[in-house]
């Protein structure tokens, strides 16, 4: 009997198609798993048991009636709390949106609902997606299922940990500077940041509009491709959405063919600054691709040296404007200032923002406000846009010599909770390899490359492709996955420690009243 919580989305879809299980059985198994482990992992900010089961039952009925269903119909999914969901709280990991229930669905959510995927709940994240560890969530961090004392990556640590702890086979993410890929890397899961404009941003609570991109998270390359295909495609509600056919990503994932492909190693994104075990797994992965018929070239992208600085000017600038709407006037938190009689709108706004925004959010709003201000605009925002152009040019020349570029996804394996929380610059360095893709709008993927020798924790292998060539990511990712599974004798996540054995020993606040009893 298949363990429904460990099966891939593709396998679950097959089981349902063959009538061997139902969406209700799968959904119930996953909800039970959540009750058992999420007190320790804290992937979810909100679980929608009733809603998920209602969708599951509806899909089961339609299947029984012989209706033609979407390939993923009935396969449950977890949705990052950055996406608006009608009837479900959407906080973006922030106190300022506590209790806000949106009156509309993000386009991605609407497509998930239309395809009949039960939505299990909303996953944790760094507040407004600002962070690489989920430690900036106003509702407490998520934990890495490989080692509960470590971070699950960020901002999408809720989505990465929900997959690695077998609470869901699929999850959505958003990636502004690595928020899908870095969490995937440190949890041994798969995640793709599509081409900018490939997936609608409508209903994503914006961090930095020109960098944000929604994408799929899963445990296998094929599942990631299937979810990517479901999410992708033109949306008239998003002016930056690309009006062109979605690249053949599922087909590429199934064929897993890299013969004759030129794999470019980016000199600036390897070696110094990368953990030895991470680098080692990367080098081996490259060799596997060569064995599968690919060719290796080395490329240089000198402007990448400035990518982090550029990113931390553009992102805060756009964020400072995007977050200005949180003023306590129309929705979310409203805090009355202390010791003020008859406060003005501005005083209420100030008190609310003071209470409702965390330190990292305040830091970036201040940075961005400064960078955009008169007299500094040209030196900061203006220069950053020019460097951004240079980075895109570097990619363009690199892609003349290589079909895809590769690097380790993150410089290290998962660090310990609290290790970098007081050192923003060290935290920002986690995204050194993922940020260039966001600046240039090109697609990127992280697939597991193995466990680092020194700490036994997962490392990620990043693949980058030219805009609208997302299918290449899946060809390379699937080919690597095939080879590595053969070497490992199965998926990397087969080696993850048993959470149910360790959960009671971890003192954690339990968001679900019955989590302890179920888990014991």
């Amino acid at each position: 009997m298949t363990d429904l919580t460990r099966a891939s989305a593709a396998e679950l879809a097959d089981l349902m198609a063959r009538g061997e299980t139902t969406s209700r059985e799968i959904t119930t198994a996953l909800l039970e798993r959540t009750e058992a482990v999420d007190g320790a992992v804290h992937s979810y900010l909100h679980v929608d048991r009733d809603g998920a089961l209602a969708t599951a039952d509806a899909v089961d009925r339609r299947r029984a009636a012989g209706e033609t269903l979407h390939a993923l119909a009935g396969v449950p999914i977890a949705v990052k709390d950055v996406m608006t969901t009608t009837g479900l709280p959407t906080t973006c990991g922030s106190r300022i949106l506590q209790g806000w229930v949106p009156p509309y669905d993000a386009t991605v959510v609407a497509r998930i609902k239309a395809a009949g995927l039960p939505i299990l709940g909303k996953t944790n994240m760094d507040e407004f997606a600002m962070g690489s560890s989920t430690e900036h969530s106003a509702y407490g961090p998520s934990h890495n299922p490989w080692d509960l004392d470590r971070i699950p990556g960020g901002s999408g640590g809720g989505s990465s940990s929900v997959l690695a702890s077998f609470q869901a086979p699929l999850a959505t993410g958003t990636d502004t500077g690595g928020s899908i890929r870095q969490p995937a890397a440190v949890t041994g899961t798969v995640g793709t940041k599509p081409t900018y404009g490939g997936v609608s941003r409508y209903g994503l609570i914006a961090l930095a509009s020109s960098l944000d991109q929604a994408g799929p998270c899963a445990r296998t390359v094929l599942d990631t491709a299937m979810l990517h295909e479901l999410m992708a495609g033109h949306d008239p509600l998003d002016s930056t959405s690309i009006d062109a056919p979605v690249p053949p990503i599922v087909e590429a994932a199934r064929r897993a063919d890299v013969r004759g492909m030129r794999i470019g190693i980016v000199r600036e994104l390897t070696g110094e600054g990368f953990q030895a075990g991470v680098q080692q797994r990367f080098d081996e992965a490259v060799q596997h691709l060569v064995d599968a018929g690919a060719e290796v070239v080395e490329v240089s992208c000198p402007s990448f040296t400035y990518a982090l600085a550029t990113y931390y000017l553009i992102l805060p600038s756009e964020a400072s404007s995007n977050l200005a709407k949180f003023d306590a006037m129309r929705y979310g938190l409203r805090v009355a200032p202390r010791d003020v009689d008859d406060p003005s709108a501005e005083q209420v706004m100030a008190a609310t923002r003071d209470a409702g925004f965390g330190d990292e959010v305040k830091r970036r709003i201040i940075l961005g406000t400064y960078a955009l201000s008169s007299g500094y605009y040209d030196a900061y925002y203006g220069s950053a846009q020019k460097v951004r152009r240079l980075i895109a040019d570097d990619f363009a020349s690199a892609f003349e010599r290589a079909d895809v570029l590769v690097s380790p996804t993150a410089p290290t394996t998962a660090f310990r909770l609290g290790a970098k929380i007081d050192d923003p610059l060290a935290m920002y360095l986690n995204d050194i390899a993922t940020i260039p893709a966001n600046l240039a709008g090109i697609p990127g993927m992280s697939v597991p490359s193995g466990l680092a020798d020194e700490d036994g924790l997962p490392a990620g292998f990043q693949i980058l492709a030219p805009a609208m060539a997302d299918d290449r990511l899946y060809a390379v990712g699937a080919a690597l996955e095939q080879r590595l599974h053969a070497v490992w004798g199965g998926p990397l996540l087969d080696r993850i420690p048993d959470l149910l054995a360790s959960a009671p020993t971890t003192p954690m606040a339990t968001p679900h009243a019955d989590a302890t009893t179920k888990g014991a």
Partner: protein, 508 residues
């Protein structure tokens, strides 16, 4: 300073003796599109508060804007009509500032890459000269919501207990049209300002892009003014008077600020660069918020919208849809209708040109059209606080009735006095001119015997006048016609009476 306080003013002639005024006009026009600038919400004026809203125009988290194509098209047509260049590459920008009725706390506007720039508009002044106003730019943006302050005495935020916000207006497309500094107008500065706004209003109306109702706020004017010492050519410090929303107020506000600036400068003071409020009732301006370089909108290109690069052939297609420029149309019609300058000015001031043109098209003569649309109906419309076209439309009276009335006169059924009575009946809602004439028994007396009897009686009663006419003073006939008409109790045909009198006295 409260609205009641008055400031020292310099005499207008004294101002002109010492200073040159420089004007700048910023006009915001609400486009008449069916939907808002960045979402699909309706734009109907006067709807119940917050019934024309959606996640986009409420600025809800996650919502994204999509540009209204008709809004862009209107902006380009306005730019072309103002003789502007149309940008080959134009972007929206975010103007960041806090205001409670602005949902996103930034206004999606345009900054250094406007859709249209570098044009001009020629305006006709009262003295018959034409003044060219240079246009700096025309750009697209969105309107804010509207706040209603409750609990205060004045409806202003000061003293209010709370405020209500209506977001129906949030996101309505606006075009902001900004002039270059207007210098060299001298004493005509107030007239130039009024004439510019009036000409712009006519142009926008002719383009069909807006209903340009200043009283409803669909066209709003900000007046910038500064004085420089006469002949110096150096621009002085300006003030910006906001929301001057009638043509008369535009003229008055310019004049008032000129006199106020003059008094301050002449006494050795300096002008504070600030926003000022215009008070329609008292005709003065008062200090608003101080506007300094410290006000920083942190403009940057709107990342949620893609740039607009209008194809040149599309721009040329739009150019071909431009209506005849209003000034040119006025000249053409004045010549065609043989109106004197004075008559034409009255027609324009009363806003009758469209009605007259329609009436002529329907078969009326230009003279009759002007006569009937500017008499009694204008008096009644004025008493009702409306313009003639809307007043007449409200009554269901149009060109067809005027044409019918004129036909009753030319066919000989009614004389002028009877026609006036018939027209009054039409305006009283008694039916068509013919119906009114029938009901009131209006009919010229065509009995030639009665006319002869009356003429002979009047000649006999006025021997001196008759003698004058026999001697060739034909103009004296008027006095006799009047008496004949009186004899016939108003039912005589004045033309026939005149002919018969002249014939009897040997002048025909």
């Amino acid at each position: 300073m409260s609205a009641g306080d008055t400031e020292a003013l310099m005499g207008y002639d004294d101002v002109l003796a010492a200073y040159d005024p420089a004007l700048g006009l910023e006009v915001h026009v609400e486009l008449g599109t069916n939907t808002k600038m960045f979402c699909g919400c309706a734009t109907t004026f006067g709807a119940e508060p917050n019934t024309q809203v959606c996640p986009v125009c409420l600025g809800l988290p996650g919502a994204l804007p999509v540009v209204n194509a008709i809004g862009v098209e209107s902006a380009i047509r306005i730019g072309l009509a103002l003789n502007c260049e149309i940008a080959t590459w134009s972007r929206f920008a975010r103007k960041n500032y806090f205001y409670p009725d602005m949902p996103k706390n930034f206004q999606t506007s345009q900054y250094d890459e406007p859709i249209a720039f570098g044009g001009h508009l020629d305006v006709d002044l009262e003295d018959g000269t034409v003044f060219r106003v240079e246009i700096e730019r025309a750009h697209m943006e969105e309107d804010t919501g509207k706040s209603l302050h409750v609990g205060g005495a004045t409806g202003r935020i000061h003293g209010a207990t709370h405020s209500l916000v209506d977001y129906n207006r949030a996101g309505i497309p606006l075009i902001e049209i900004v002039t270059k500094p207007i210098v060299g107008a001298g004493e005509r500065a107030p007239d130039v300002a009024r004439a510019y706004v009036a000409t712009l209003r006519d142009l926008l109306k002719a383009l069909g892009v807006s209903d340009v109702k200043m009283e409803q706020g669909s066209m709003r004017c900000d007046v910038n003014l500064s004085l420089s010492p006469k002949g110096s050519g150096v621009l002085g410090t300006r003030t910006e008077t906001k929301n001057v929303n009638s043509l008369r107020s535009v003229e008055r506000a310019v004049r008032y600020e000129m006199c106020r600036h003059g008094a301050i400068l002449a006494s050795g003071g300096s002008i504070l660069q600030e926003t000022r409020h215009w008070h329609e009732d008292t005709g003065i301006t008062t200090s608003g918020r101080e506007k300094s370089d410290a006000e920083d909108y942190r403009y940057f290109p709107e990342p949620d919208l893609v740039p607009i690069a209008p194809a040149r052939d599309w721009v040329e297609e739009l150019r071909a849809t431009l209506p005849e420029p209003p000034a040119q149309r006025r000249k053409r019609l004045q010549a065609a209708y043989s109106y004197s300058d004075l008559e034409m000015r009255d027609v324009l001031n009363a806003g009758l040109l469209d009605l007259i043109e329609e009436t002529v098209t329907a078969g009326g003569s230009p003279a009759a059209a002007r006569k009937w649309w500017s008499g009694e109906v204008a008096r009644r419309a004025n008493a009702d606080g409306q313009d003639v076209p809307s007043y007449a439309a409200g009554l269901g009276v149009g060109p067809a009735q005027v044409v019918e009335l004129e036909t009753l006169v030319t066919s000989g059924r009614l004389n002028d006095a009877m026609a006036r009575q018939a027209w009054e009946g039409v305006l009283d809602g008694e039916g068509s001119p013919t119906a009114v004439a029938d009901a009131r028994g209006l009919q010229l007396n065509q009995d030639s015997g009665a006319l002869e009897t009356a003429v002979d009686a009047v000649i006999a009663a006025n021997p001196e006048v008759a003698e004058k006419i026999r001697d060739g003073k034909v103009q004296a006939v008027g006095a006799l016609i009047g008496q004949v008409m009186k004899e016939m109790r108003g039912q005589g045909d004045a033309a026939a009476a005149r002919a018969l009198i002249l014939s009897r006295l040997g002048q025909a």
